[in-house]
């Protein structure tokens, strides 16, 4: 019996972007003006403070602010897929991510979604590279 694939080593596909356990996106928070940015930056995009920024875990609950069903993509990218602008109300952050767990034609504006991790690729040493996407919240998926 070979071990299940989930036992493979994994790491974030990009340093400083997210934590694996529990899955959390990482942003930078500016204590001076209260603004959170994703991905993390070395300055505050709102008040331009250049120091004092702290790493912060973002909330996992989001809302679809806008979306599209991508039907044509460059060679090697499987279509269709849903790409969305997702708002995280707890942090006042907007980010772009794929949405899964719902048929493309069922996606609607303001739909609740939840963060989850997904393989974004494999490193040369076999490590699974994990990235972020959102899945339809349970009440939608049912």
């Amino acid at each position: 019996m070979s071990p299940p694939q989930t036992a493979a080593r994994a790491r974030p596909f990009r340093d400083g972007l997210l934590r694996l356990d529990p899955p959390r996106l990482l942003g930078s928070h500016c204590p001076a003006c209260g603004t959170t940015a994703f991905p993390s930056r070395t300055f505050c995009p709102r008040c331009r403070a250049g120091d004092g920024l702290v790493e912060t875990e973002l909330g996992v609950e989001g809302r679809v602010h806008s979306f599209t069903v991508v039907r044509q993509a460059p060679p090697g990218v499987e279509v269709p897929y849903v790409l969305a602008q997702v708002d995280l109300p707890a942090d006042d952050v907007r980010l772009m991510a794929r949405v899964v767990g719902v048929a493309p034609e069922e996606v609607v504006l303001d739909m609740p979604v939840t963060l989850e991790l997904a393989p974004f690729g494999t490193a040369e040493d076999g490590t699974v590279l994990l990235g972020h996407r959102f899945t339809a919240a349970a009440e939608v998926a049912r």
Partner: protein
């Protein structure tokens, strides 16, 4: 602060379209350059420097072109700001003339896309957006869906941009497509990124456009007397990192680019008679015109459907046919817009002439950067 204007001594283009491999980037660039020189009645020997805008042309494309054109040995510079590359090359020529460094500068915008780009242009592979599956059409599709929800605009009104620009292109011999397109064709076209379909998207194109810019001394060198159209100013801004969850279509970057244009040129938004707008996608023309402040917020789709941005309307947008119909060889587009404004301001645009055109604006927006409201935006202000 305002710099001296650059005088447009000559312009030239090769028709945009899809060419076989033997029609190389260098060959198209040389063709456009020779047309511009002939238009000005100028010899190569009069040219002080060459500025080339391109994205996919490879290393020292400008110098490769110079060696085939006969401008070898001169100062040659390559300018990359994605879809604003051609306009950025124009801007740097304007600056060099105003600084007194040169008196005659040839600007070429050129791109050979059909043999090296498929499935649409993309952000840099290292950009976070690319990692989550972003393609340009997807960004504009999300813009369109939100625009419809926020302003009560219809899919048909957005599609009307393509109908209008294709109708204009019938009169443009340099356009890739020179045929009208009906509303039902736009709506029924193959979906690319919903709600946008194939005819909401500018095509993959090959082509070149050239502009010969002069100082007053340069005009004397070329023996040109009497007034010629002038580039009053070229605004340039970059997208800014966004925070919060505000209006997805705020287009603050377009607003800032407009403010640069007005400040540098002394021209105000009310003075603009026509606009060459970077309609890489139908919705883009609408939200960018609003961002510039030339159309009231939320009314751009209705204005288009009502004919207010058509030839003969209140503010004609893209009499050339725009990117949707002229084609979009990305590095060439900004220079092609300057060619179009020049013909319009000379009054020689034929069936697509905007009557009484005195002042024109050309807008390009190039590239995307994760977390910002754009890559580069240029605003070229020209006057008769």
């Amino acid at each position: 602060m305002s710099l001296a204007p650059a005088h447009v001594a000559g312009v030239g283009m090769v028709r945009f379209g899809r060419y076989p491999a033997e029609v190389t980037l260098e060959r198209m660039a040389v063709g456009a350059a020779r047309s511009a020189l002939a238009d000005a009645g100028a010899d190569l020997g009069a040219v002080d420097a060459l500025h080339v805008g391109h994205v996919f042309g490879g290393p020292v494309a400008g110098q490769r072109i110079a060696a085939q054109l006969g401008l070898d040995g001169r100062p040659v510079s390559n300018h990359e700001n994605y879809c604003a590359s051609g306009a950025t090359a124009v801007r740097e020529a304007w600056v060099a003339l105003a600084a007194g460094l040169h008196d005659v500068v040839l600007v070429i915008g050129v791109e050979k896309m059909t043999d090296r780009v498929s499935g649409g242009v993309r952000p840099d592979p290292g950009d976070l957006d690319a990692a989550v599956g972003y393609v340009m059409a997807a960004g504009h599709a999300m813009s369109a869906r939100r625009y419809m929800a926020d302003h009560g605009a219809t899919r048909e009104q957005i599609a009307a941009v393509a109908v209008k620009n294709h109708a204009h292109s019938v009169h443009n011999p340099y356009a890739q497509y020179q045929r009208p397109v009906a509303l039902h064709e736009v709506l029924a076209a193959r979906p690319i990124a919903e709600p946008l379909g194939l005819l909401d998207c500018s095509p993959i194109s090959d082509g070149a456009a050239a502009v010969l810019l002069c100082s007053p001394a340069g005009l004397r060198r070329l023996g040109i007397e009497g007034p010629v159209p002038r580039v009053l100013a070229v605004g340039l801004v970059s997208g800014a990192v966004q925070t919060g969850t505000g209006d997805l279509n705020a287009e603050d970057v377009s607003h800032r680019a407009g403010e640069e244009a007005w400040k540098l040129s002394g021209v105000g938004p009310a003075d603009v008679d026509l606009v060459e707008m970077h309609d890489c996608f139908t919705i883009a023309e609408i939200v960018r015109m609003e961002g510039l402040g030339l159309v009231p917020r939320g009314q751009g789709a209705a204005w288009t459907a009502d004919g207010r941005t058509s030839l003969g309307g209140r503010l004609p947008v893209n009499p050339s046919g725009g990117l949707l119909s002229r084609g979009h060889p990305v590095g060439a587009t900004g220079a092609a817009q300057v060619c179009e404004l020049t013909w319009q301001l000379r009054g020689t645009a034929g069936g697509r002439q905007v009557e009484g055109a005195r002042t024109g604006l050309a807008y390009c927006k190039g590239g995307t950067v994760n977390g910002t409201d754009g890559g580069s935006v240029t605003t070229v202000v020209m006057a008769r």
